[in-house]
Amino acid sequence: MSDDNGGSHLRLLVIDDEPIVGKRLKQLFTKMGLGVETFTNPVPAMEAMERCPFDIVVTDLKMNGMNGMEVLKRVKDINPEAKVVIITGYAQLDTASEAFRRGVFDFIAKPFRLDELKRVIVKAMSGTLLARRQK
């Protein structure tokens, strides 16, 4: 449990129709120094993305209104640099190859340990921060 990973300017968007996911992830990543916003509905989430792009997006794959693959496409349209992590349900990994073609940063399958997601996000953060420094 490190208190700061130097990511204080990075913004994270969480979209999952199960409120507990957003709630848990907000708690976890706020402590790591990220600015976190959570949505249970992907439509307003994309509106928020358009207003002020996020650096990292964690989205559920199966949702009403818009699925995770569409979210991936919209996010990449708005901010090609954004890292998108897709949460898949139990045994839904078959969509992986298509998602990788479309530039997904990583997948994580439910059920997962919070630690596993944390590792993925830290990896995404360091990539983003490195890219910024190089600019």
Binding site: M1, S2, D3, D17, E18, P19, I20, V21, K23, R24, Q27, K31, T40, N41, I87, G89, Y90, A91, K110, P111, F112, R113, L114, D115, L117
Partner: protein
């Protein structure tokens, strides 16, 4: 068949033999010996049972792990896992029946019943099935949904903690659903629930529906069947407590007091006369409050997307309280501190919780003797008291009490101790409502989680704070149940030690045991040197939510009794002393996790799957009908499968016909014939004898190592009066008169299995052991019976064996001169160690009965054996 055992007068022994006959006869009338499959086939079938059991237990363990709070999972996961579990349990039942000639057909019916119930749980319809009213004393885990959280807690508090709660009964959610149907409210209710199911429901849009339901329930009519039952309960209360008894009708919604407090969301009606019309009216007010505006808003906030919630009501004796109030077991303003908070006033507590009166406030040290840190005594001119005929009224407090503290030191101490018991039991800080009556008795009216905001708990940077504490153990052991716990160390060696287990203690033991269940409601954590996260104990830990680390090497040498430690069974750390920051932090975090819908369904499913009621095979209730959960079924199947193997070695004639038995060459005259059913003997052995070095069976090697321990095997046996009978075992033919056991000493072995029948003239040992890499598959079964001397001496030896076995971690049963010991669910190394001890026991006690001329020797010999002093036999 077992040859030549006939002891006229020894009825018990005859019973045993009859039992064995029955087993060999496959339960058929007439008792003929059925064609038994060859030993190797039996063993293969036994392993099939283990495989199925394993698959099922792994799924249960996996589901249980998800409850630990460190995972995110969804409904699909639960659904798929449950389907796989159903299949595995069914196959397990099937495998047992294949092993033992379909003797356990009734398990299929039990399986069907349990599975049907799980489907009801998964569909979230548990609240519609069961009694309309139920006595508080009759409430069990199975009723927890239909009586609501608050009542379920009161029942537990009374049953498990033996704290005083008011007498009463519960009007269940089944009655609520019947009421809705009886009053044609079902359609509105369905519409309301499905609207509430929608995550993005607009509270305004369902306002008219909500109002209609609230009004409809408030004006509902009862069914005559319900009124009859209600009257019956009220009459019983009047008969028990006198006709002047008055009642409190308190709400208890499904999730109330479980993970959320719902403080003040629902209605309570106090001081109601005990007639059915009045109680029903009060009940309607309570039930209607489920649809109250503020309660619905609260639900939308804490349970978004969950429309299904029903309400029960507790009908309790109204306590005429002299003093009442609340205890917070943690000061919410300082969750990391070591103080608890008590607020009290004269009269009824309603005034306190609603903030309607001046109160006294006490801050007490959490640690006994709960010294007062600070107190604020206010002038309390009025209090709420029971009004004649019903309801409450504000009255002047009795003369002279206004400025006096409303609690004495002695009362504060008692209250604090009870509140801490509750905190321990529910494993999180509690908000406890209590009352003290005219006799000075303390009643617990309610205990619910004290909600501490995340912000308060996370004020301090945890990582930084933790650096200030000394680590005893870092990154060691495996997590059996995640969580944080702190308290004084209490070391448990034998199950007797559990007697003195203190509230809030940390149980430290060499290995895990399902016996610990007896103190789990008191333990703040469990740490063991050996053990596995998939043992029965680990499952029980999850059920009781006891933080638990197993396989913490050397822990016994790092702690001592009474030493305060904090266990972080998540990051696998153990700290010296209390780490309040950690405890406060975890409290807040856990609350959020428990809130998820999936989490609650999974918890409920696991309640009906994984708890183990069928713990002790030595008890009379170890029968199929007593299985209440899948876990019980699996436990039963495993035990019976082992039982089937145990008896296999006794049919020596059959074995010798089926197999080539090789004599084992040993430096002691034990006369053992070896039958290898797979990998038990090294492949290059060509001889017609087996040398010790050629034994590849791990359990057999371990047992022989024990038997061959220097000093264990005495050869001088002259005292017994008929010579060295060791050598006679194989040679002397069956003697039907003197009770000597005949037949052969046969060891059926494979690489990881041993079944040994040892007949030593007048007594008989059976050892059955399986020892694989999967800890939960492993078992040791030991049976000892008989002897040549009189029953008193024989019983002394049996007692001695029982004592040694118990000290070695066996679950022991004994009757006269028969001792059975069971152990298992342990890693391979521990099984081997235990078999070594068993080998010594067999050797040590072989001729001991003739020497047991006084009771005093039993303790002395057991003590000597356990300290490695085997020469005591020569000294006498």
């Amino acid at each position: 068949m077992v040859g030549g055992i006939r002891l006229p007068g020894d009825v018990f022994l005859l019973e045993i033999i009859k039992g064995i006959k029955k087993i060999f006869a496959g339960g058929k009338a007439g008792g003929d010996v059925l064609a038994h499959p060859p030993a190797a086939v039996m063993f293969e079938r036994f392993k099939d049972v283990l495989d199925c059991n394993n698959r099922a237990l792994e799924i249960i363990a996996d589901l249980g792990e998800k409850l630990s709070g460190d995972y995110i999972f969804d409904n699909q996961y639960i659904y798929d896992s449950m389907k796989a579990l159903e299949d595995a349990v069914l196959q397990s039942v099937h495998a047992l029946n294949t092993l033992c000639g379909n003797r356990y057909q009734e398990l299929y019916g039990i399986y069907d019943r349990l599975t049907a119930h799980l489907h009801i749980v998964m569909a979230g319809r548990e609240d519609r099935d069961g009694p309309m009213v139920i006595d508080l004393a009759d409430i069990s885990q199975a009723h927890s949904v239909m009586v609501g959280g608050k009542n379920a807690h009161l029942a537990q508090i009374q049953k498990d903690l033996q704290l005083k709660v008011p007498e009463g009964f519960v009007i269940t959610t089944k009655a609520y659903h019947d009421l809705m149907d009886h009053n044609d409210l079902r359609k509105d209710l369905d519409a309301f629930e499905s609207a509430m199911d929608d995550l993005n429901v607009d509270a305004e849009a369902i306002e008219s529906l909500r109002e209609r339901l609230e009004r409809g329930v408030a004006a509902a009519r009862p069914s005559s069947a319900f009124m009859l039952e209600l009257e019956e309960k009220l009459n019983a209360m009047k008969a028990l407590l006198g006709p002047e008894v008055m009642l409190a009708i308190r709400s208890s919604a499904q999730e109330e007091d479980m993970d959320f407090s719902f403080a003040g969301q629902f209605h309570t009606v106090l001081n109601v006369p005990p007639d059915s019309a009045a109680v029903f009216q009060a009940y309607l007010a309570v039930a209607a409050s489920l649809f109250g505006k503020k309660a619905v808003r609260y639900r939308l906030r804490v349970f978004p997307g969950e429309g299904h919630m029903s309400i029960a009501a507790g009908c309790y004796r109204m306590i005429d309280s002299k003093t009442s109030g609340i205890v917070y077991t943690v000061d919410p303003a300082d969750p990391a501190g070591d103080a608890m908070l008590v607020v009290s006033s004269w009269g009824q507590g309603q005034a306190v919780v609603e903030g309607r009166t001046s109160v006294d406030t006490f801050y007490l040290k959490k640690a006994a003797p709960h010294t007062i840190v600070e107190q604020k005594i206010q002038a309390k001119d009025t209090g709420l008291y029971l009004k004649k005929g019903g309801g409450l009224e504000a009255r002047d407090v009795p003369e002279g009490l206004t400025g006096k503290p409303s609690l004495t030191h002695e009362q504060l101490g008692r209250l604090a101790a009870k509140a801490l018991q509750l905190e321990n039991y529910y494993r999180r800080p509690q908000d406890v409502e209590w009352a003290i009556d005219g006799k000075g008795d303390i009643y617990i009216l309610q205990s619910r989680p004290l909600v501490i905001s995340d912000a308060a708990a996370q004020q301090v940077s945890l990582a930084k704070a933790l650096k200030n504490y000394e680590l005893i153990v870092a990154d060691m052991g495996s997590v059996a149940q995640q969580g944080i716990g702190a308290g004084p160390v209490y070391i448990v060696d034998t199950s007797q030690d559990l007697e003195g287990f203190p509230d809030g203690g940390v149980l430290v033991s060499r290995r895990d045991s399902s016996h610990f269940i007896r103190v789990m409601h008191k333990a703040s954590a469990i740490v063991t040197e050996v053990g596995t996260p998939v043992s029965h104990m680990a499952t029980l830990c999850r059920e009781f939510q006891v933080p638990c680390l197993v396989n913490v090497e050397g822990i016994l040498s790092m702690v001592e009794n009474g030493m305060e430690i904090t266990i972080d069974a998540e990051d696998r750390q153990i700290y010296k002393g209390r780490v309040p920051e950690l405890l406060a932090f975890k409290t807040a975090v856990n609350l959020n996790v428990a809130a998820a819908k999936e989490f609650r369904i999974l918890k409920r499913l696991l309640d009906t799957v994984s708890s183990l009621k069928l713990v002790d095979p030595l008890m009379d209730n170890f029968v199929p009908e007593a299985c209440e959960t899948y876990h019980d079924v699996l436990r039963f199947v495993h035990e019976k499968a082992v039982g089937e193997l145990v008896e296999m070695g006794r049919d020596d004639r059959r074995l010798l016909k089926d197999y080539r038995a090789l004599p084992l060459e040993l430096p002691i005259p034990a006369g053992i014939l070896v039958i290898d059913i797979g990998g038990g003997i090294k492949p290059d052995v060509q001889d017609d004898k087996v040398h010790l070095a050629a034994i590849a069976s791990m359990p057999f090697r371990a047992l022989l190592d024990g038997m061959l321990t220097p000093g264990i095997w005495r050869t001088g046996a002259a005292n017994i009066g008929f010579g060295d009978f060791i050598t006679s075992i194989v040679n002397v033919p069956a003697d039907a008169v003197c009770g000597q056991y005949s037949g052969h000493n046969i060891a059926i072995i494979s690489r990881d299995y041993l079944n040994l029948s040892l007949r030593f003239g007048y007594h008989f040992n059976i050892i059955d052991a399986y020892c694989s890499d999967i800890a939960r598959d492993n078992h040791i079964y030991f049976r000892f019976l008989g002897g040549a001397t009189d029953i008193t001496k024989r019983s002394r030896r049996a007692r001695l064996i029982a004592m040694i076995l118990e000290a070695s971690g066996f679950n022991v049963g004994s009757k006269g001169d028969i001792v059975t010991g069971r152990s298992g669910n342990m890693p391979k190394a521990e099984i081997m160690r235990t078999l070594d001890i068993l080998g010594r026991v067999v050797g040590f006690t072989r001729q001991l009965d003739v020497q047991m001329y006084s009771d005093e020797q039993v303790d002395r010999y057991a003590g000597a054996f356990l300290s490695g002093d085997y020469n005591i036999m020569d000294r006498g």
